[in-house]
């Protein structure tokens, strides 16, 4: 058994229900239904166990966490367990009063998602009328003394508006901007041919962000995550398998990362039946790719294995069919051509429509079948 450090963060997917249908959603294609969701008391126990295990940060996410009426109780429980509590939300379902209640319960940080710089294209990407409410909500958030992050998912359908988006978000006075390029798992992988930017687009986007970082230093912290399809080496996914983070899905299954459910033959232990401590130390799923024993060549003898831990196991499976393969994003990977082919075939700017010119309902009609929207669980 590989010796393990303690986890630093817990990602709690408290529900898969969501009023938005974002085409890049990282949730699994097979969503958990409301009937299967963990009860409040289970979550509170998980938070206590997480804190005892050394976890510092709790990320409440979904789906849309606001779909859970007991969210304020969960925040209060998390705070009582001394966790730093972050709410990752679309803001839909958040009134002025409910926000105040969440803050009073001990919320430390709110991360509000945005889809584009202006209303129609933003709603088209989200598959719902959401943008106007988010703008109003940003003002309410700023009236409380909590950290405020705006999160923007970047892809080929909005990457050309990046400068405009940063300006629009700057006007909301966040403490932090997260500029996250779509990661190709779940729904985003299904829609990859509509989302993957070209190398030139990515290059320009990186320059735009660097300029904004310089200009906003001390005012807004900017964190950017790029998709690794255009990189030479893979990302250190989740900081390494079973090294820093764990994720609990709405039904209580403990996963080493968001997408781990796609890997065939994995057995995930459930917090209804085991303690978090036991799961972290012993669960087969967390052991599976922990450490270096599982690594094939060229990873096994590569110096970079200490930095990227062999890249992403889920991406390796999704692209090569073998979860133990070297992440094909790596230029040293025997199957690297799979990623090169994907970039060549999918990142074609010719298929980019001009969504800003039309109202949301016209776009939905005109562009029907262009991509698949995330569905809602039963």
């Amino acid at each position: 058994m590989t010796k393990c450090s303690n986890p630093l963060a817990l990602i709690a997917e408290i529900t898969h229900r969501c009023p938005l249908h974002c085409v890049y959603c990282s949730n699994p294609l097979e969503l958990t239904s409301r009937q299967e969701e963990l009860a409040t008391a289970d979550w509170l126990r998980v938070f206590r166990e997480a804190a005892a295990l050394g976890v510092l940060h709790l990320h409440l996410t979904g789906g849309e966490p606001l779909a859970r009426p007991d969210l304020a109780d969960m925040i209060a429980g998390a705070r009582q367990s001394r966790l730093y509590t972050n709410l990752i939300t679309s803001g839909i379902g958040l009134s002025h009063e409910r926000l105040a209640q969440l803050v009073e319960s001990g919320l430390d940080h709110i991360q509000l998602s945005f889809q584009d710089a202006s209303e129609d294209p933003a709603n088209w990407i989200a598959g719902a009328r959401a943008h106007a409410h988010k703008l109003e909500l940003a003002g309410w958030i700023r009236s409380h003394s909590i950290a405020f992050t705006t999160n923007l998912v970047v892809h080929r359908q909005n990457i050309e508006h990046l400068e405009e988006m940063i300006a629009a978000l700057e006007a909301l006075h966040p403490d932090r901007m997260e500029i996250a390029h779509a990661q190709y798992y779940g729904w985003a992988l299904q829609n990859r041919s509509a989302l993957l930017p070209t190398r030139a687009q990515l290059g320009r986007a990186v320059a735009v962000v660097a300029e904004a970082e310089e200009r906003l230093r001390g005012k807004v912290r900017i964190d950017m995550v790029v998709s690794d399809y255009h990189a030479r080496f893979p990302k250190a996914c989740m900081g390494g398998w079973g090294r820093q983070l764990l994720l609990i899905d709405p039904a209580g299954r403990a996963l080493p990362c968001h997408a781990a459910g796609v890997i065939p033959g994995m057995r995930f232990d459930n917090v209804r039946k085991a303690t978090l401590d036991w799961i972290w130390q012993n669960s087969e799923a967390f052991q599976k790719f922990r450490g270096e024993d599982w690594m094939p060549e060229p990873c096994r003898s590569c110096d970079r294995r200490k930095e990227d831990f062999g890249g992403c196991r889920c991406q390796a499976f999704l692209l090569t069919g073998d979860a133990s393969a070297t992440d094909p994003v790596c230029e040293l990977a025997p199957l690297h051509h799979i990623v090169e082919d994907a970039v060549r075939e999918d990142a074609t700017p010719g298929s980019t429509p001009e969504p800003r010119e039309a109202p949301f309902h016209v776009l939905q009609e005109k562009m029907a079948g262009f991509w698949s929207y995330r569905t809602d669980p039963k």
Partner: protein, 91 residues
């Protein structure tokens, strides 16, 4: 970046706070945490909204009498400016 003046009052930015344990305190902020020990901890404990930069430097100079003149002032400034750049300390 805002200029750090003698009269500036450094304090934790919104959503940044102490966490961890008394023996091993950490400063928690969005998406991160830093362990602070020694002088860093002493400085941050003075960033509670009650003291100006000049007062913080004065307190440290009283505590560390042997430090070369001006060194504490320079070190405190660098430390606070770095944390300001990360949006952990406001002034």
């Amino acid at each position: 970046m805002a200029e750090l003046l003698e009269t500036s009052i450094p304090k934790f930015a919104a959503g940044c706070r102490w966490g961890g344990t008394v023996e091993a305190p950490v400063v928690l902020f969005p998406e991160g945490a830093i362990r602070v020990e020694g002088t860093g901890r002493i400085i941050l404990e003075l960033c509670d909204g009650h003291f100006s930069l000049a007062e913080i430097v004065q307190k440290l100079e009283t505590q560390f009498r042997l430090a070369p003149k001006g060194k504490i002032r320079a070190d405190v400034q660098t430390f606070l400016e770095q944390l300001h750049g990360k949006r952990i300390i406001d002034y």
